[in-house]
């Protein structure tokens, strides 16, 4: 199961390396990691998405995170009401058929066409965790030329 865990940390050099090495040293794979300053410039927020099969692994991850000296709090969104977003930029071949499909998708999903050349469409997608898989599936069938994403961020309700 995919879990979204968030850590508020001291905004200092080396903190990201500590968090990253906590995962790598134990062989946990991070699916996504997004880091940025909060309203308080001395505090950064790290949102981490991890795949954990059983609860015990997740428990350990949370405890180990909290044990890091620079980590102030750890929030696990698994059983909470929260909103999340990812930002994905995608390049897709510009042809008549793709154009039709994309125009349909734009109406249904949080997708914007932010640039368009003779060759490509450049799409900005801002999905939550429920929409993400479906959108990507649709777009994959059109042939994705390039894809970059920020990683998920989340906020409690």
């Amino acid at each position: 199961m995919r879990h979204t865990v968030q850590a508020l940390v001291e905004n200092r050099f080396g903190v990201l390396a500590r968090v990253a090495s906590l995962f790598s040293a134990r062989g946990y794979n991070i699916e996504s990691l997004a880091v940025g300053e909060t309203q308080d410039s001395t505090i950064s927020c790290m949102t981490i998405v991890v795949e954990a099969e059983d609860e015990r692994v997740l428990e350990q991850i949370k405890k180990q995170l909290h044990k890091l000296i620079d980590v102030i709090t750890v929030i696990d969104f698994t059983r909470r009401d929260y909103i999340d977003r990812d930002l994905i930029l995608i390049k897709i071949l510009n042809n008549g058929e793709n154009k039709k499909v994309i125009e349909k998708l734009v109406k249904k999903f949080p997708i914007k066409i932010i640039d368009q050349t003779k060759e490509d469409f450049l799409l900005e997608i801002c999905p939550d965790r429920h929409q993400e898989d479906e959108i990507l599936k649709e777009l994959k069938s059109l042939g994705i030329k390039e894809l970059v994403r920020t990683g998920r961020i989340a906020i409690g309700k």
Binding site: G14, S21, E59, Q60, K63, H66, I69, D70, I72
Partner: protein, 558 residues
Amino acid sequence: MKGAKILIESLIREGVEVIFGYPGGTVIPIFDCLYDAPIKFILTRHEQAAAHAADGYARSTGKVGVCLSTSGPGATNLTTGIATAYMDSVPIIAITGQVKTSLIGNDAFQEADVTGITRSISKYNYLVKDVKDLAYTVKEAFYLANTGRPGPIVIDLPVDVQIQEADFNYPDKIEMRSYNPTCYGHPGQIKKALKLIYDSKKPVIIAGGGILISEAHNELLKFAEKAKIPVSTTLMGLGGFPSTNNLALGMPGMHGTVYANMAITESDLLISIGSRFDDRVTGKLDAFAPEAKIIHIDIDPTSISKNIKVDVPIVGDAKNILGQLIEEIKESKLSDLSKWHKKVKDWKKKHPLTYNKNNSGKIKPQHVIEEIYNQTKGKAIIVTEVGQNQMWASQFYKYDYPRQFLSSGGLGTMGYGFPAAIGAKIANPKKEVIVIAGDGSIQMNIQELATVNTYNVKVKIIILNNGYLGMVRQWQELFYNRRYSGTPLKNPDFVKVAQGYGVKGLRVKKVSEVKAAVKEILSAKTPVLADFLIEPEENVFPMVPAGEAINRMIGGMA
């Protein structure tokens, strides 16, 4: 004030009396300040030994030990000592020189990424890039080292910061929003634990290194006697509960006593205090205490439910939590444990900790340890290397006092014992400090004979010399068809080596000489190295094969 001076003044404020270390290009300003500072400097002959000596100083006193090295190779040589201290939760501060800030990351001469290298083997580390941060960093480092679950802290200090000027203001106290160890047990959890204790008919306490760290030995004794619960002390917990007490079960696990392992396997309640269910303690996990409910008291939440699923976790300091339990326990509510005590007594009688005393004429290592125990009246500080020597020293010396047994338990570092003993002896000049070593491990830091000679550190080194890397040889004998691959040792003449360093050396070959030799060693007013030629293929028993259930022991069941 210059950075180097700020560092030394800060160390003085923290009560540092001694630094173990080795100079080099990037720490010359610090050494210049040390020259006339009221801090004793001990020059070890290898940085690894400096880290272990700081560790021995810390373990034997509870105070923070300090070691110092130069950048690059000096720092990388410290790392084994830092990792050793990390695994056993020992408070040390490692100060490393670093190339000047403008060169960091440029592959400068003697440069290594010290904060990167030590990140996973230290509790915390710092790269101080501004001299204005230095005093606060030192204060915070000492605070972190010796609170919560203690551990090593690394301060990497570039050489240009050592000569920059700043005002010296040493902070009075430290406040950290991100670090607040829990000290007292949650009252609700204490109540739940007591309920399990009242209902238990076959309880066992496993006491680990946390008892010693939190100085909870008196509370443990009081609690165990009040609740009448047998106590098994782990390798790290030796001395945390008097071995000579009726309730003492000795060590659990791989080389534990038969009666400790039987009692744990049959128990209906395990109370683990300051112990983390290491694989050497538990053996095969699903056969470990299969009937028992588990209460786990530990300051570190990550230790709880890591290997063993815990029924009642209590996070906090062992001394405080035991105090809470003692206060609240009602003796009238305890179950009748007389049957359980009888069973334990029978196991003890039937399977005592012993060894084959046949008269082969060869010296038995266990006999040497027993002789040392008798002649020191159980009061020496015993520091071990790693391997068979360590296990015999843990089994056949009876530890009644905390901080009396120093050994690398978690990392299992050969080469730890001798330098750690130097640190322990410098911290405890009036106590007898004895190193129990093997012929393999002593050679990993044998250059420290120069250190004991230089400062007349009166440690007594006992080499149990069997001509093998004995513990691996034992596994090869038992599980690899006696194919002694890489384990036979062609040794130097240890007596001559000692003499070459200016240290008294003696050799003991016969059983009949053991008693007099131990007497001579103990009465010497100088450091001594004694080479005991022991039975070459003596094994450590009982033994639980790796990955087996702990009640499936070989040896010791006769």
